[in-house]
Symmetry: C2
Subunit: 186 residues, 2 copies
Amino acid sequence: MRSRPVEDVTIGDITSAADVGHGSFYLHFRSKNEVLIPVVRAAAERWDEALQKALADCRDPAEVVGLSTRHMGRQITGDPLWRWTLRHSGMPIDTLRNAVGRFAARDIGRGLLSGRFQVPDLAAASSFLFGGFVAGLLTSLDAENPEQAIDQMAELLLRTMGLPLDDAARIAHQPLPPLTLNGDRT
Amino acid sequence: MRSRPVEDVTIGDITSAADVGHGSFYLHFRSKNEVLIPVVRAAAERWDEALQKALADCRDPAEVVGLSTRHMGRQITGDPLWRWTLRHSGMPIDTLRNAVGRFAARDIGRGLLSGRFQVPDLAAASSFLFGGFVAGLLTSLDAENPEQAIDQMAELLLRTMGLPLDDAARIAHQPLPPLTLNGDRT
C-alpha cells in the first residue's frame, strides 16, 4: 500500500496480495479505510517508542508535549498512508484520536499533575487540542513550509494548556532531538 | 426541513415541497448536503447581525470574540440543521468555515490590530482555532452541560489568541448579553 497512492489501491489488490477471496475481505473489514486502522496504529506506537527514548532525559513535561507534537506532526504528514487518512474525512477522525490519544493523555497528564499545565476542564481541553492538532496538520500539508506550520501549531497547543507565551514560543522553535526509528517501513 | 430530522428528509420531499422535478434538483445541487449551504449561511448572517447589535458598546475586542463565540456556539448547537451538519462529516467542514469564517476574521482582526491578541502566524492560528471550535461544539452536543462545554471551549480559544489566563477565564464565564433575533425560524 505504501508503493502507490492509496486512492489507486483496490480491494482486489489487497485480497490478491493477501491471497484471500474478495468476500473474505468484507467478512473482516467494512471498507478499505478499516484495513488501515491497525497499520496507522502500529506506526503511532513505533513513533511513540522512539520519542520516549529521544526525550528520556527531558524533565519539563511541557517540553515533552511540545517536542513530541512537533515530531509526531512531521511523522504523520510525512507518511503517505497517514496523509491519505488526514485528507479523507471518510475515515473517522476517531481512528486518529484512538491511535495517538493515549500517548497524548499520558504526556499531558504528567504536565497537569506537576502543575505545569492548567486547564479548566480536561474533556473540553482534549477535544479542543485534538481538533486544533488535526486542523493544523491539514493546513501544513498545503503550507509553503510544512515544518514551520507544524511548529506554529505546537506553539498554539502549548498556549491552550496554559503555558506562558514565551515558554510556548521557545519550546515550539528550539532544535528537535534526533529520532531513531526501529524496524523497517515496508 | 426543520420540522423533522434531516436524515429522514428525502430529495423527493424537497422537490415536491418546491414543486420541481427530481432531475431539476440534481441540475442545481449535487447532494442533499449542498442544498443546506445557503440555509446554514443565512442563519450565520442573522446571528451575526444580532450579535453586532448586542455587543455594539463592547470596547474590548477579546470580549467581542469571546462572547460571540459563546453565543454562536449556543445558536449552532441549538439548531437542528446545524447539529446535523456538525455530526455528518460528509458535509464538508469548509462549508461551516465559509459561513462563520468572515465574521471570525473581522473580529479577530480587530483584536490583532489593537495588540490585544498576539499570534505567531495568522494562517496557523485560524486553522487551529477553527479545528478546536468545531471539535468543542461536537463535544458539547454529548456533554452533560452543553453550555458549560461551549464556554470552556471559548476560554481555550482566547488562550490560543495569547490572552492572559485570568482574562480568558473571566470572559468565558461572565454573563452573556441577551440576543434579539430578527425574522422567523420556520
